[in-house]
């Protein structure tokens, strides 16, 4: 029996044992590995939490209101991504393009917030007019102030050292973890913009080829979920003590 061998791929319609698409499964497998990646970085952060030898410490630099805004923006970008995908499946290409652009813009805004945060942390500056009066006024020092005042030669203490990765364990672990998260977001933005541009090329992004967008959406949501974990574990738990602690 002669066998016609065709060099062709219709991968999205081919037989699969489970009926699920290969690439979707691949993305899930990849996200599994990415979970372990972030897990190891978060574990490192947690192991070193509270162990920095010098400040600044989380409570000195974290600005929960600001970070809450950026978290909200990232969350909204996930919603925008859902809307983009929905528009595509309904063949509303213009709607798709708008929502994709908006996802990218919100993602970029989040990155903008990160850049602002990194730069403000690294130039974090403390200016205590008088150590003696500071202590009287507030009843006690926080750890960083205590450190600065005890090491100081006179009563006025000012430092521009800021928090850099080299400063202490907090800097090292914080910048590495959030930096890699930011890199993942950036990659996602590039991916989304690529899909957006491709949608202008005839036949590249169609409702039949929705999987291409679905995969990007899955990745994007994952990156968002990782941020929720980071925001909760690192920011919120870092600043607000547990009841009774």
């Amino acid at each position: 029996m002669s066998t016609d061998v065709h060099n062709n791929t219709h991968e999205d319609h081919d037989y699969t044992t489970t009926g699920l698409n290969h690439r979707k499964m691949l993305m899930w497998a990849f996200l599994g590995s990415d979970c372990m990646f972030f897990g190891a970085l978060i574990a490192t952060y947690l192991v070193y939490q509270g162990k920095s030898l010098v400040g600044p410490y989380p409570i000195d630099v974290f600005d929960i209101p600001v970070t809450s805004v950026s978290t909200f923006v990232l969350l909204m970008s996930s919603m925008s991504m859902v809307l983009a995908y929905a528009a595509l499946t309904q063949n509303k290409i213009n709607g798709f393009r708008i929502w994709m652009a908006s996802t990218a813009i919100m993602g970029a805004t989040f990155i903008g917030f990160q850049v602002y945060e990194f730069s403000s942390f690294s130039t974090f500056h403390v200016d205590i007019e008088s150590c003696a009066e500071q202590k009287v006024k507030y009843g006690k020092f926080d750890d960083y102030e205590a450190e600065l005042c005890s090491n100081a030669k006179d009563d006025h203490v000012e430092t521009h050292d800021g928090l850099k990765p080299q400063t202490n364990l907090f800097g090292t672990t914080f910048y590495t973890l959030t930096g890699f998260h930011g890199a993942h977001v950036t990659l996602g933005i590039v991916w989304i913009l690529s899909l957006l541009f491709l949608s202008y090329k005839k036949g590249m992004i169609t409702p039949e080829r929705h999987l291409d967008v679905d995969l990007a959406a899955l990745y994007w949501h994952f990156v968002d979920v990782v941020w929720i974990v980071i925001f909760t574990v690192i920011y919120l738990f870092g600043v607000f003590p547990f009841p009774g602690s």
Binding site: T3, H6, Y15, L26, G32, M36, T44
Partner: protein, 619 residues
Amino acid sequence: MSSLPIPVPNIKISRPVNPTGIWSWLTTVDHKRIGIMYGITAFILFLSGGIEATIMRLQLAGPELDIVSAAIYNQLFTMHGTTMIFLAIMPLSAAFFNYLIPLQIGARDVAFPRLNAFSYWTFLGGALMLKLSWIGGATDAGWFGYAPLTSIDQNPGKGIDFWILSLQILGVASLGSAFNFIVTIINLRAPGMTWMRLPLFTWMSFITAILLVLAFPVITVALIELTFDRYFAFNFFNVANGGSVVLWQHLFWVFGHPEVYILILPAMGIVSEVLPVFSRKPLFGYATVVLAGAIIAFMGWMVWSHHMFTVGLGPVANTVFTITTMLIAVPTGIKMFNWIGTIWGGSLKLNTPMLFSLGFIAMFLIGGLSGVMHAVSAHDAQQQDTYFVPAHIHYVLFGGAIMAILSGIYFWFPKFSGKMYSEREGKLHFWLMMIGQNVTFFPMHFVGLDGMPRRIYTYAEGMGWDLWNAVATAGVFILIAGFLVMINNLGRHWRNGPTATDDPWDARTLEWSISSPPPHYNFEEIPVVRSLDDWWETKYGTHEKAVPVSGSSEDAHNSDIHMPQPSYWPAVTSLGLFVGGYGIVFNDLLFPYLFAGIGLLITVIGVYAWSLEPVNDPE
């Protein structure tokens, strides 16, 4: 035709069509060719690791010898360990995954043929980077690179950086491969190939792939942290600023322990295929062996600190890990007993593949028992960091994994080469290996318990270690002889051996139902599987009426065979990683991180081109 909002060059690179010669290998996406490339590359790298070991053994043949300097010796043992684990055993296993899995599950190729090729080229790049690091000074901090020996202060040279980057690149290759095989095994099984009808080798490969996906990211993070410490003065392992060097050990071994199961499970899968064929009996306790493999993989996450019994974690932590480590011996034992159950009452043909698999059982038993001795943590305080550890390692990895891999090479040789090797020479290799293994590695138990630490480039006269070290060195030459016999046997016969039939062994699984070697498309018709050991049941007609599980057999049975096409982009993308890796190590060449940027650019081009690759349709 394109109406993009910004001008984009309209570059169209067509996909290669029927390339020949070296291009056909560079652009191939055929799992069988990729498997062969992995196998040959890995075998050559295995030999390079063997040369490293031979030089080490020459240096230790007697006390206070001066064959190599301390500096070279320290690089030798580090490179030997890294080579054997990452450049030999893992890619040899990958060779088997690649060649066999689609055949065993009744598929035409893997789920992602280009990703498969990418994994191979990336592996090659990582391997080259590691071996080339001998030039200018290789890494010398041991294969598990404990901090702070790997810090920039302690180790300012580039050897460590090459080690780090090559492991990262190899990690990408392994992950790509693992993703591919997970999807392939879940999603490309022929109709009727339920999970409990999967050949044992494929099962073990599946479990291994899951371990890879979960374990590698941890070492990725550890290596990133080390890189940042070295390059940018971060504090991850900087004791002066509050860091802990023990953190490195935890991160490394959380990866490292699952890694040893990654090394052994495929080998156990091979043995589980060979024994039934040459006993003419099914695998005893198939379901139990599968379950034991899964349990080992799961429990493998809970034992990592048994590598750290002497680090000072405290008796409570040590107790916990003692218990978990002892427990993991149980499923391992279950497998051993099931293998013996397989041959018991069988009709045993003691040919080369069978001898190697039986040898595996005999040798792995010893390695497993010395492993239990390590688990007795109270005495491990005496065994740790002595030659008792290399003794254990080489019984499980050389007498164990390598022996099983050799069994697999001889077993599947007729299938992938289409030729038959010389049985006499094969048996000779086996006996040289068995004798050599025991002469080389058994005495290491003795000197270890006699107080000889490991990783020492020399030892004093009068310690009493001379005799057994000399014996161990002599054993190396027996092993070398065995491998020379093998290379001669397989090399000659691959070229000019007698033609092999489809099923020279009267075997049990689907790969033996097609020609040797198989056609490009593997199966003319995708088989409908009706039971475990389907091919055996087809031959001897004992099939029960089974219903295919999901997917219509019509879909898979169509007479048009669609094969994935060759592609340039996997190799290009790998090249980008390779250049990028060098660019990170030589980051001050011409312009800071210039070559890292060039590497990144090549990678990005590769990825884009790959994603947008035109599909050539001859129709």
